[in-house]
């Protein structure tokens, strides 16, 4: 089966195109060729998602070939620079430019993941932040991966890719798993099978809410990320099932949409020269308990 990969930006409608591909290919024993002849460019969300989709098809007993003769030069260069072609087509990895490597994590491996966020995503000279703020960002984003491993039940891991957009002064990162999704976990935990997806996602963002609360307080990761994004004028989007969350400095919206993706996709945008996260100088004088 020939599957045409379109041009994919990272507007909401572009995510719908990715989710339509997932709907089409999430089945057993497919034999597929990805045809990029209609693709002018792919953003980091598409690279992370397509990588995961290839792994999903193979996990389901199928096969995916990439017809790299259909690449236009810009797409070929981009996929070579972020390592996607090296992994899936055996092409040489040409690290350069504004590309940030495509990454697959089968299990939680903190040291290499944190090194990726520090050296490949943040640390290439395009974001000027203090070491303290850099470490703050890394810990905050690491929580997204931790949530994916703890709650996602993906089976095939977590897929991510970043991109620096110098003209937009923006740094992006997409993290996607192909697991059970946030609304399913929340509904199961609350025993509310009819809870709408947007309400389930809103519940998951509230501090202290966790679907695995046994033994200790949890459920802070999404709230910490949300607060960081708001203060830094960034943007956070979460797609899971038909739920969609959008957070920026002036917005916090939870919607139920028409398109559906069973897993969870997190898309983070940081404005490179707007990072000014303020740490309270008074906090050290207060009791910590």
């Amino acid at each position: 089966m020939n599957v045409k990969i379109p041009t994919i930006n990272d507007d909401v409608s572009d995510f719908d195109r990715l989710f339509a591909l997932w709907e089409q290919l999430n089945r057993q024993d497919l034999d597929i060729t990805f045809d990029f002849s209609g693709c002018r460019f792919l953003r980091q969300n598409a690279v992370a998602f397509l990588g995961g989709l290839i792994r999903l098809v193979r996990y389901l007993g199928g096969n995916v070939r990439i017809d790299d003769s259909t690449f236009i030069p810009d797409v070929a260069n981009n996929l070579a620079k972020n390592g996607f072609s090296g992994i899936f087509s055996g092409k040489a990895f040409v690290r350069s430019g504004n590309a940030i490597p495509y990454r697959e994590d089968g299990e939680s491996e903190n040291v290499s993941l944190i090194a990726y966020l520090r050296d490949q995503w943040l640390g290439r000279g395009w974001v000027h932040v203090t070491e303290l703020l850099r470490n703050r960002i890394i810990g905050t984003v690491w929580e997204v991966y931790a949530n994916g491993f703890e709650h996602g039940e993906s089976g095939i891991g977590i897929f991510s890719c970043g991109q620096h957009y110098p003209q937009l002064r923006t740094l992006k990162l997409t993290i996607v798993d192909f697991g059970v999704g946030i609304p399913a976990n929340v509904r199961n935990f609350l025993g509310e099978p009819n809870l709408p997806s947007d309400r389930a996602l809103e519940w998951a963002f509230r501090p202290g809410n966790s679907t695995k609360p046994e033994g200790m307080g949890r459920g802070l990761g999404l709230d910490i990320l949300k607060q960081f994004i708001k203060v830094n004028k960034g943007q956070l989007e979460v797609f899971s099932h038909d739920a969609y969350a959008l957070v920026d400095s002036g917005t916090e919206r939870y919607l139920t949409r028409k398109s559906y993706f069973q897993g969870t996709l997190v898309n983070i945008s940081l404005v490179c020269d707007e990072l000014h996260y303020c740490l309270s100088s008074e906090i050290s004088n207060e009791p910590l308990f």
Partner: protein, 117 residues
């Protein structure tokens, strides 16, 4: 006063719950034996809530907050670490001091969400 060096347990990334659990077990044992404790974060750079949930937040099921403020001293904990820890402790206090009430509040939230429909 006993000294526990977090770097020796977690390395420079204090993020994972598993590492936090190791720290918790060490701290709890020392505090239960009556010793005061210095928890040293020298060299630890990255912090995330799962580590603190297990390492520190859990102590609130064994000891009260005043007791911990008096007996457990934090050294070389960066402002980033303090900020995450503060959130974790607030959340853990809520969890352990009124876990039944907290669960009830969660149920009420769901009721409110359902009424919005």
């Amino acid at each position: 006063m006993s000294l526990v060096k977090v770097l020796e347990i977690s390395g420079e990334n204090a993020v994972a719950q598993e590492d936090g659990q190791k720290v918790y077990e060490r701290i709890r044992e020392l505090l239960k034996s009556g010793q005061d404790l210095q928890l040293d974060f020298q060299g630890v750079k990255i912090f995330a809530s799962p580590f603190f949930n297990a390492a520190i937040g859990q102590l609130l099921k064994d000891f009260d907050a005043d007791d911990l403020n008096r007996r457990l001293k934090f050294e070389h904990l960066s402002l980033v670490g303090q900020e995450v820890l503060k959130k974790v402790n607030e959340n853990s206090k809520r969890y352990f001091s009124s876990s039944e009430a907290f669960k009830k509040a969660q149920t009420e939230v769901i009721g409110n969400l359902a009424r919005k429909l």
